[in-house]
């Protein structure tokens, strides 16, 4: 039960405005979710290196300790960038597994928000305006990003329960709605080796897509299969390293508005989220159809819409 925004830039000259535009979009959706807020930004890529975004409730003591351990483990090839309760560790991609193992050994002092070559996730309990300013999201640049403000339905209001959820490298998902078969699906995905941090229904959706993509499906195909396997109400916006997708359930009660120009593709739970975008008055604005997968990939030649 929430507000969602997403922005996928086609015109790279807008990259430096991404954080600003997405922050404004998210703040307008505050009324839809007062509990927590989060944002995923797909930024610069450095060949051979990955970012591990971590969070701690006691950043002052924990991150200093973490930085020392990271240096001991990875050596000079690592760096730690601290932003409030979050920090981004940059390490050689080949060492990500070692870093995660080290984090697992810290008994929960540090939580992993995301892992990826370009994606960073920042999320906390609180209102979008506060979350955006804590992490200085407005100054961030990037190619695409997704934001969420949450009205918690059944699972706890915590940092980990905030969206976006990331269950695979450079993958993230935000959700508006309520799934009704997530408990069974979580058990099945756990059996297949997926890892869960919360009791949240949306995390199950994220993990489901990650599992399908591990099976070799692309994002569009994974979203199509979600229509068969997920029960309940949902509007999803998902991101991958190069792609951006939208899916609504067959009933499609939860709101969704999209806008496209030569410069960008944008998503909002309400039109209000889109009013500040450049040249919005001349954008193609439409409401995504139920059971239809929409996705854009900067590596593919054109966008695709798959009718399920």
């Amino acid at each position: 039960m929430c507000g969602i925004v997403g922005l996928f830039l086609k015109d790279r000259s807008l990259d430096t405005n991404l954080g600003q535009l997405l922050s404004d979009m998210l703040v307008t959706m505050t009324d839809r979710g007062p509990d927590s807020a989060g944002i995923a930004i797909y930024g610069e890529e450095t060949a051979g290196r990955s970012k591990v975004t971590i969070q701690s409730d006691t950043p002052d003591v924990t991150f200093a300790d973490f930085e020392r351990r990271l240096g001991d483990l990875v050596g000079k090839g690592s760096s730690l960038r601290i932003k409030d309760t979050h920090a981004v560790a940059e390490v050689p991609t080949g060492r990500v597994a070692d870093v995660r193992a080290m984090i697992d050994g810290l008994d929960g002092a540090v939580r992993v928000m995301s892992v990826g070559e370009t994606m960073e996730i920042y999320k906390e309990v609180g209102l979008p305006k506060d979350v955006v300013s804590r992490f200085d999201i407005r100054s961030m640049s990037g190619t695409h990003g997704i934001g969420h403000t949450r009205m918690a339905t059944e699972s706890a209001v915590t940092t980990l329960g905030a969206h976006p959820f990331s269950t695979g490298a450079d993958q993230c998902l935000v959700h508006n709605g309520s799934l009704s078969n997530h408990n069974n699906l979580r058990r099945e995905l756990k059996r297949l080796g997926m890892r869960f941090e919360t009791q949240n229904d949306s995390e199950v959706a994220a993990a489901y897509l990650t599992a399908r993509m591990k099976d070799g499906l692309d994002l569009g195909e994974a979203l199509t299969s979600a229509l068969d396997d997920l029960d309940g109400f949902f509007t999803f916006v998902v991101g991958t390293k190069t792609g951006f997708g939208v899916l609504r359930d067959p009933i499609a009660c939860k709101p969704a508005v999209m806008a496209e120009t030569d410069q960008y593709v944008a998503f909002g739970s309400e039109f209000r989220a889109l009013v500040g975008l450049p040249n919005i008055d001349n954008a193609r604005v439409w409401e995504p159809e139920p059971s239809s997968v929409y996705f854009w990939d900067r590596e593919a030649s054109a966008s695709r819409t798959l009718a399920a």
Binding site: A252, V257, E270, F271, R272, A273, V275, W286, E287, E289
Partner: protein, 228 residues
Amino acid sequence: MPTFDLATQDLRDLNKALHTIPAGTNDLDYEILNPRGSHAVAVGCSDPLNISVKGPVGYYCGGMNAEATITVKGSAGPGVAENMMSGMVVIEGDASQYAGATGRGGMLVIRGNAASRCGISMKGIDIVVEGNIGHMSAFMGQSGHLVVLGDAGEALGDSLYEAKLFVRGTVKSLGADCIEKEMRPEHHETLARLLEKAGVTGVETSEFKRYGSARTLYNFNIDNADAY
């Protein structure tokens, strides 16, 4: 002509002003600037006002309207003119889902497309959509008319009661208990009147097909259980 700029003025002040028109006022024209997708713009009017909204509105614009004529020069969010009693609401752009939901009277005109569930549970309103409409439109429609110049999405008129539907384009599928019906002379007359009132020109009533209730769900029968 009173003007409200929602960039600087409160929605509450706008609606309050629209609800407390002094008796004998003859300046009934209102202009609303910078709605920027705001919700509940010009709801609950009960005087013959002429309200022009310059830009896109959010949820429930013109909700429960009685008497007033409201024109939105932009798009409308979910539930535009919900439960309208009388008067007229014109959306010059597209409308989101639930347009004209449960409307009891008056006319809603959408110059662009309407999304899903247009005219859901309609109870007497007349709705004219110049573009297309989405799935589950006129679901449980009780009475009134839905006129669509473009195409209709899936499950048109599902569980329909006595609302009358006219579609000029294609219908992706009909909902349970909704069937195509003959266009008799009185239907051409009704349709012509609705098109004229909506300010639609250049189309012939002969281009439309009529859809209505088969009335097989009016009293429960186990052999129709698949349709429930």
